[in-house]
Structure formats: C-alpha cells, structure tokens
Amino acid sequence: MSVVRHGFLGALAPGHRDRLLTFAREACFPAETRVFEEAGAADRFWLIRSGLVALDIHVPGRRAAVVETLGEGDLLGWSWMFEPYRWHLGARCHAAVTAYEFDAEPVRLACAEDPAFGLAVTRCVAEVIARRLKATRTRLLDLYGFPGGGTP
C-alpha cells in the first residue's frame, strides 16, 4: 500500500499534497522510542510510512495507558495546528517506525499565506479528528461486552 495514495496524504489533492511534501524530511525511530511526551511542545508532526505508534496517557502509579495505535498512512499529531500547541497525549513507537517529519511552524505559515492550501490541510486534519472521535465514541459503547452491561 502506498502512503501517498491512502491515509492522510491520499485525502489531499495532488497539488496540495506535493506542496506539503516539500516541507517533509524522512525520519526513523527504533522500537520503544518515545516520540513525544504528553503536554510537551507540539512543534512537529509526522505521517507514518511504516511501523506502529501507541498514543498513551500518563496515569500516576501505573504504566502509561495506551488509548490508540496509529500505523501506515496515519497522521501522528494534530495538536501542532491548534493553540496552545501542546501534545494532549504521549506517543511511543511499538515497532520501528519510518515517517515523513514536518516542522509545524513553516506549515502553519504556508497555510496562513495560501488560504486554499490552508483550507485543504485543515480539512484533512479535521477529518482525521472527526474519524478518531467517531471511533472513540463507538468504543465507549463497549460493543463486545456482556449484552446489557454487567457480567454473565
């Protein structure tokens, strides 16, 4: 599967996709690497080309709880787009990861200077957020649990 055809990049028109990729550099993370810490500065973002990244929340006295994993084609990080530009989750590589890495500030600047490009990128990020929100709400239903709740 091509990361360019599917996932976040696949949702962008070719012109906007090519422009966004001019800001990209290649990045590799060994397994178990922490990519960013919860509440840290959201100054970059990534498009995952291969591997698996776990999003987690720090829980005092326990190991960080994994709330979701992201893989090939997924956008890693959207807190860079909205103030206060702080990560609301942490991210750690479950497996070795290759990704396109972007500095947030030049991308935000390009979005502000070119409204068509900015709208396209913002819509794609919003779509990612909407899909993750929908999936999270569905998971809240505890669909696979005992019918009617409780235990059998």
Binding site: M1, H6, G7, L52, A54, R63, V66, V67, E68, T69, G71, E72, G73, D74, H94, A95, K134, A135, T136, T138, R139, L141, D142, L143, Y144, G145, F146, P147, P152
Partner: protein, 265 residues
C-alpha cells in the same frame, strides 16, 4: 429439519473466560451439510434452544462457539464431552463466497462475530487461486477476549487484530476495528467484503468500506435477531420485510442498510 436430531459432544474447548467451542458428531443420521454463514438451533435438553452459527464444518461434524449470556447458552457452554444435544438446521443464508471469485476479500469480525466468519476464511484459504488478496480484520474487547488465538489459519490469513482496551503486555494495535481498514491491502472496486459483529460495528464498517469505494452490493453482513423456529413461521426474527432465520442471517448491505436505519425495527 424441524425436529431436533441428536448429536454427541466429542470435544469441548474453553476459548475465553465466557466463551467455549463445542464439537458435535451425529449420534445417528446427520443433518444436511451446512454452508459457512448458516446457523443451527442447538438444544440443551431440559433447558431450551438457541441459534448458533457454525464455526467449523468437517464432514458430518459441526463446531459451534457459544458465549454464556443466559440459561441455554450457559448450559451449552458447560456441556460435557459425551453428552447429547439436539440440533436442527441448516437454517438461513450463507456467505456465498463463490460470488466473490476473482476479487479481493475483506473479512471484518467484531467479538464473537468471528465465529461464523471462521469457515468462510478457511474456505478462502483452501482455494487461494480463486481470490485475489485476503484481508482478515478482527476487533476484540481486550486481548483476553480474542477467539481462536494461535490457530494456524490466523497466520496463513495474515490476520490483523485490534482491541478496544489493552493491558500492559499487549504490543498490538488498539482502536476500533474500522481503523484496520485503512491499513488493509485491497482494491475497492474489485473487493467483496463480509462483516459480522455488533450492529453499530457493522454499520461503521460498511460505511467505511463504501467510503473507500467498495460497491455496497459486494458487502454482505450477518445480522442477529431473536431466532426461534428457524423456518420463517413464528416471526420472532422479523426485520421489516425480512425474516432473518430464512432470508438471513447473511444479507447484502444494500438491503440491510435502510432497515438498520429504522429505529426499533
């Protein structure tokens, strides 16, 4: 077909804390052959009967995975090897895998919805030359709730698994099963999809597949209502114009979608 036929329990395996698989062999005459996706009415004598889809078909032998949620399922979950149960069937529609020949296959299972899809996957693996790529995507509540772990077909099929809630030992994927669709390898216009699980999961999965470009006519889903007679007479399993024990449980998405959008149908 309407009178229960005695079958003997020849194997029993606990799959998860609340789920077990029982293997049945005819005590005398066997029922007609079951197709993947069809179901049987299985009696725990003296307790009652419930519909159970077949999770394995081996000649006259049938296997059913049963989750304990009530008196009958509890009795069947705990049944001992050597005991006799009653079986009626085969009932309902099957997956009709043959209509998917030459296509990419996307099989999406949620929770115990993997049980009726298991024989479908086994059939596809047995004749790989008839299909293009096979994607089996499985969602579960927790790692402890996953069915058929370690069975050889899971490796052969390149199964992808995700769970809603992970413990510290889990290094796999976490998230709704629909997230796996983005990472599956298929060409939407040349894809046939098969879905079974809780209804909200079926709706979300089918919607995502259609969004990706899969033809709704090529998506088949297995629906669940209160099956009782199995022959389309009692009406307990009615879903609008359908009697699911006869016209289902496997239904095309084009037909199922508008019915599932009607509340309390």
């Amino acid at each position: 077909m309407t009178v229960p036929v005695p079958y003997r329990v020849v194997a029993h395996r606990v799959d998860t804390p609340d789920t077990a698989t029982i293997v049945l062999e005819p005590a005398d005459a066997a029922l007609p052959p079951f197709a993947p996706g069809q179901f049987a009415m299985v009696y725990a004598f003296g307790v009652g009967d419930i519909p159970l889809s077949v999770c394995d078909i081996d000649g006259p032998r049938l296997a059913h995975t049963v989750r304990t949620v009530g008196a009958v399922s509890g009795a069947l979950h705990d049944v001992r090897i050597g005991r006799t149960v009653g079986v009626r069937g085969p009932f309902g529609t099957g997956w009709e895998l043959s209509e998917a020949e030459g296509r990419d296959l996307v099989v999406v299972a949620g929770g115990i919805g993997l049980a009726p899809l298991r024989p479908l996957v086994l059939a596809a693996l047995a004749t790989p030359e008839r299909y293009r790529r096979l994607n089996v995507l499985i969602g579960g509540r927790t790692p402890d709730d996953l069915l058929y772990c370690g069975e050889p077909w899971q490796a052969a099929a390149g199964v992808r698994v995700t769970v809603d809630r992970a413990g510290p030992a889990w290094t796999g994927e976490v998230g709704l099963v629909t997230t796996l669709i983005d990472r599956a390898d298929f060409e939407p216009p040349r894809t046939a999809a098969f879905i079974c699980g809780p209804e909200p999961m079926i709706r979300a999965t089918a919607a995502d597949l259609v969004h990706r470009g899969v033809d709704p006519d090529r998506i088949r889903v297995s629906l669940e209502r209160t099956m009782h007679c199995g022959t389309g007479h009692c009406g307990h399993c009615q879903l609008g114009p359908l009697l699911l024990c006869r016209d289902g449980p496997v239904v095309g998405w084009t037909r199922a979608e508008p019915l599932l959008m009607v509340r309390e149908l």
